[in-house]
């Protein structure tokens, strides 16, 4: 059996054992089992990767077919793995980050009285689904992974199902993702009608054979799926709510892996997208809007996980933008580093939340630097990485995107500037949360002590929580070094066989304004630094000023704080109208139909009552009827027969 299948099998086994026999396992057993399964998968992935590197670049594309999955007539979808540098990279990210976060979760969930079995089972299931997603060799199978991660996401967001908001968030996440699924399904149908295949190989080789209009339709429909999964505008509203799940879930699913599936889809389908300029423009602009909006909203959020969620949305916007302008490699690079530093940030936040007893409100934190050194360090490293401060990983990956935004022929200066500006904003809001949480005086007096397990001060992280932070911290720091323009193109070279590089994208040419890569990089880094500085100024040096500013721009503040009221708008536009429509159909139309049906019954009943009245009991009436019948028959005989 191919090694790669072990990546699937081990977490699957972990899931199955936990799900079926979990109730007989000891309390910590679930976590350990799941982590071992995930670690095994990671090892297998590493082996696959090493094997892979041993192959010549041209041979790094293999398709492994396990069995015929769905075959109906000429429709064929196999259960197979499509191994190429991109999917192997994703394999590594998913299993690697997955393992780290599993490990972290053991400690994080240790205090939970119940639900560990469920939690770890679903966590393993998520890994399986995510691997199916990235390994799939056809769109239908990809959809399985796609749906599977959605389900795992649902199940894990609703981990605290007894909280109404968690339950609602889970449902919301699943529904919004299903919107995406619907789009994708339609895209796949159209693809099949057009190309007669849903296999990557079949579609990509024939990509050119369809008209631009059709391809645009296909790609746009697929895009709907990607937007929903990756929390891009306009389907982003579920992601912040999804933070209702446990923090490791947020780190793994809603930051590092699942939400990047959209980017993966775009990158995977690039042969199609390259043929649909309209779609690419759409992606670019949606990415840009998401990037900016996410950052803006992130500026004022007070929930630490929300901040990070919007930051995720924003960073995914970067990736979409990159994909839109053709910089797939940059997008994937950022995906990789983002997985490291965002997971790191979440885990650090998790440590904080864990320590303060489940409270996620930044306004009730503060001054944790001394008490939670590991978290402070990790959050700081992650912050520096996301802020694009060299030499942290985010610097290289983000600057690649910014640079591409300036140089790509599909891009323009506005996009370039937006990416730069957002970089500054990013630095600001991340460090805002950093400073709020770790600096200043503790504002934790209102911490709820209802939860029995958490009273009595802070809750220091155990080893299983610190080690993951360390691993991710190191990766977030040095992860970017695998791809340094002008110095090291290892990453790009690695992905080269996947993206036979689009010719219209200048690799490292002069930017639109004549700037070189390093000029832009320095400007970006500077903006990042300024952002950090402003954050320090506002939240550490002059904390009152921030509040002042918020009051001064109360309208904008409220607007941003309420996430531009987009949720409310959707509620009004879609939720309420659907509900109204459903109610109308239920109470009006359906009852009417029923009434018509029953009306026939009533009519018969009425007729019956009338006939009963006619049957008056008087003999003479009966005789009358007989005579009338006779007269009628004779009349017919005389007139009808004439």
């Amino acid at each position: 059996m191919e090694l790669v299948w072990y990546c699937l099998l081990l977490p699957l086994a972990g899931f199955a054992i936990n799900a079926v026999f979990g109730r007989w396992l000891p309390r910590r057993g679930h976590g350990i089992l799941a982590t071992i399964a995930c670690f095994g998968a990671f090892l297998a992935a590493c082996a696959v990767f090493v094997n892979f590197l041993g192959l010549a670049a041209a041979d790094r594309q293999r398709t492994l077919i396990l069995y015929n999955w769905v075959v109906a007539e000429n429709f064929r979808a196999t259960f197979g793995a499509w191994l190429d540098p991109l999917s192997v990279l994703m394999l590594l990210i998913v299993t690697g980050v997955g393992f780290v976060i599993h490990l972290f979760a053991i400690g994080y969930m240790a205090d939970e009285a119940e639900g560990q079995q469920r939690f770890f089972a679903y966590l393993n299931l998520f890994i399986v689904a995510m691997l199916v997603l990235v390994l799939a060799n056809n769109y239908m199978l990809l959809l399985v992974g796609w749906g599977g991660v959605g389900f795992a996401s649902f199940a894990l967001i609703s981990h605290y199902y007894y909280r109404e908001e968690a339950a609602d968030a889970a449902v919301k996440a699943f529904i919004m993702n299903t919107i995406g699924d619907v789009g994708m399904m339609l895209g796949i149908f159209l693809m099949w009608v057009t190309y007669g295949s849903v296999e990557f190989a079949g579609v990509f080789t024939k990509a050119n054979s369809a008209g631009t209009g059709t391809i645009t339709a296909i790609t746009l429909l697929l895009l709907v799926g990607a937007l929903a999964k990756s929390g891009q505008v306009p389907l982003h509203t579920w992601l912040p709510d999804a933070m209702a799940g446990p923090t490791p879930v947020s780190a793994l699913i809603h930051a590092a892996t699942m939400v990047t599936a959209g980017v993966y889809l775009l990158a995977r389908s690039w042969p199609l997208y390259e043929l649909a300029p309209t779609t690419l423009t759409t992606i670019t602009w949606l990415g840009a809007i998401t990037m900016v909006l996410g950052a803006l909203i992130g500026l004022v959020q007070t929930n630490i996980k929300r901040v990070l969620a919007f930051s995720t949305i924003s960073q995914l916007g970067y990736m979409f933008l990159a994909a839109g302008i053709g910089a797939y490699s940059a997008a994937i690079f950022h995906l990789l580093t983002h997985a490291f530093f965002k997971a790191l940030l979440f885990l650090a936040a998790g440590v904080v939340i864990h320590a303060v007893g489940g409270n996620e409100d930044l306004r009730q934190m503060g001054g944790l630097r001394g008490k939670l050194r590991s978290a402070w360090l990790a959050y700081g490293v992650g912050g520096l990485a996301i802020a694009g401060i060299p030499p942290f990983s985010g610097f290289f990956s983000k600057d690649e995107i910014i640079y591409s935004a300036f140089t790509s022929s599909r891009s323009n200066i506005v996009l370039g500037l937006l990416t730069l500006l957002t970089g500054g904003l990013t630095a600001f809001y991340v460090f805002r949360s950093f400073f709020l949480a770790f600096y200043g005086a503790s504002r934790a007096e209102t911490v709820s002590t209802n939860d029995g397990s958490h009273h009595g001060g802070l809750h220091p992280p155990g080893a299983t929580m610190v080690i993951p932070l360390a691993i991710l911290g190191v990766l977030a720091t040095i992860g970017g070094l695998i791809q340094i323009p002008d110095l090291n193109h290892a990453f790009e070279t690695y992905l080269e066989p996947v993206f036979t590089y689009p010719t219209h994208l200048a690799a490292t040419g002069p930017a639109a304004g004549g700037a070189t890569y390093w000029t832009i990089a320095i400007i970006a880094a500077a903006l990042g630094a300024i952002g950090i500085g402003v954050a320090y100024f506002l939240y550490v040096a002059r904390p009152a000023l921030a509040a002042n500013l918020a009051q001064q721009f109360a309208g904008i503040h409220r607007f941003l704080y309420n996430r531009l009221y987009i949720d409310q708008l959707y509620d009004l536009l879609f939720v309420r109208t659907t509900r109204w429509l459903s109610r109308t159909l239920n109470r009006g139309v359906d009852r009417l139909i029923d009434l018509l049906v029953n009306g026939i019954g009533l009519l018969v009943r009425e007729a019956s009552m009338t006939l009963r009245d006619v049957q008056s009991g008087y003999v003479r009436h009966y005789a009358l009827m007989i005579l009338a019948g006779t007269v009628l028959i004779i009349a017919y005989v005389l007139f009808g027969g004439l």
Binding site: G617, Y618, V619, R620
Partner: protein
């Protein structure tokens, strides 16, 4: 001698009067008599057609009708009597318990 059509008309008239009598009278005895009238109209018709065709059959049939009518009268009057015993009244319209 009057033509056949006259006889025919007479029998039709008597028959109609008989049917109307059944419909408008409440006394079962008179209703019954009206029915006898209808049968007699039929008999007249039989007899006249028999004469018109010079066939005995019509007369014989009329004879049978009279015989049956006699039997019917016996039973009918017996029923009326038995009802009268139970109810002390014989109004056709009072018989309307069974209805609907």
């Amino acid at each position: 001698m009057a033509p056949l059509s006259y006889y025919f008309i007479l029998s039709a008239l008597l028959f109609t009067v008989g049917t109307v009598g059944v419909l408008i009278r409440k006394n079962p005895l008179i209703v019954f008599m009206s029915i006898e009238l209808m049968l007699n109209a039929a008999n007249l018709s039989f007899a006249s057609f028999a004469r018109a065709q010079n066939l005995m059959a019509g007369q014989v049939i009329a004879f049978f009708v009279i015989a049956i009518a006699a039997a019917e009268v016996v039973v009918g009057l017996a029923i009326i009597l038995s009802i009268y015993r139970t109810r002390q009244s014989v109004d056709v319209d009072d018989l309307n318990v069974l209805k609907g």
